[in-house]
């Protein structure tokens, strides 16, 4: 059904569940997974899964990018454990929704699979979550997992 799937990874439990769903879908088509991380300065210190730990609010962009690369590496390992061979990590910058939409378009993916509420969305209850913006702005299929 989908030969290429974009999975935004922010270290939240939701993004991990989304990765599992994406792997299940990709595996059947021998599909390709594109894992995308967008470093964000969060107003709080979130708890991250995959053993990376929380990133202090005052961390530099460079530090957050390093953490992002670690996160993508672990997510990639998990995807390979779940049977997906073609996994490509991608680090982007800027507004998360914009970065996700640009990456989806640029790489011509057939679907985006993402958690319905990421780490950055605790502040997003009023302005709308990233997944909400992505699902309305994307030209491909968007599958959200909560």
């Amino acid at each position: 059904m989908f030969h290429s799937i974009l999975v935004p990874i922010d270290g939240s439990e939701g993004s991990r569940l989304a990765l599992c769903v994406a792997c299940k879908l990709a595996r059947q088509e021998d599909g390709r997974l594109l894992l995308l991380h967008v470093p964000e300065a969060l107003p709080h210190e979130p708890l991250l899964v995959w053993g990376i730990g929380a990133v202090p609010t005052e961390a530099s962009l460079e530090k957050r990018q390093q953490v992002g690369r670690d996160l993508l590496e672990r997510a990639g390992e998990e995807a390979r454990t779940l049977g997906v061979e073609q996994v490509e990590p991608l680090l982007a910058q800027g507004d998360p929704s914009q970065a996700i939409l640009s990456a989806a378009e640029e790489h011509g993916v057939e679907a985006i699979v993402m958690g319905s509420r990421g780490l950055g969305d605790l502040k997003g209850l009023v302005v709308g979550s990233v997944s909400h913006k992505v699902s309305h702005g994307a030209e491909c299929r968007v599958i959200t997992v909560s």
Partner: protein, 146 residues
């Protein structure tokens, strides 16, 4: 990953996409698919997949019940065509959001998989779509297809 999936079907093209994704996730594994249809009398005549199910407001109760069963039976047939082996078709009456949540709880499903916007959601732009409400209130995972 998921042993049982609840898929609400209302005859919209969104529900059809959700069903095909559910079959994909069910794969060859022993995943149980529970298809739920909740007949609604709609103030408009929506374009429908699965041919039947348009509910004229003035149709008799028996006519509507028969159409509801026809719709969910055709959806079940389609699921089997797509490779699902354990499929059950269910018709329930009531408020869509509440009924979906009740069935999910009563049957203890691992996840609910649904289209982001169903037929009744054309009027739901202000009050929030059924999928939005379900994803916030459900105790299990909710996968939304947009």
């Amino acid at each position: 990953m998921f042993r049982s999936l609840l898929v609400p079907v209302d005859g919209s093209s969104h529900a059809r996409k959700a069903l095909s994704l559910a079959c994909q996730l069910a794969g060859q594994r022993e995943t149980f698919l529970l298809l739920l249809h909740i007949p609604e009398a709609l103030p408009h005549s929506p374009p429908l997949v699965w041919g039947v199910g348009r509910q004229a407001v003035d149709a008799s109760r028996e006519t509507r019940d028969r159409q509801a069963h026809e719709l969910v039976d055709r959806a079940a047939e389609e699921a089997r065509d797509l490779g699902a082996t354990h499929v059950e078709a269910l018709v329930q009456h009531g408020d869509p959001t509440r009924t979906i949540l009740e069935v999910a709880r009563a049957r203890d499903v691992d996840a609910i998989l649904m289209g982001s916007r169903g037929l009744s959601d054309l009027r739901g732009l202000l009050t929030g779509s059924v999928s939005h409400k379900v994803s916030h209130a459900a105790e299990c995972s909710v996968i939304t297809v947009h």
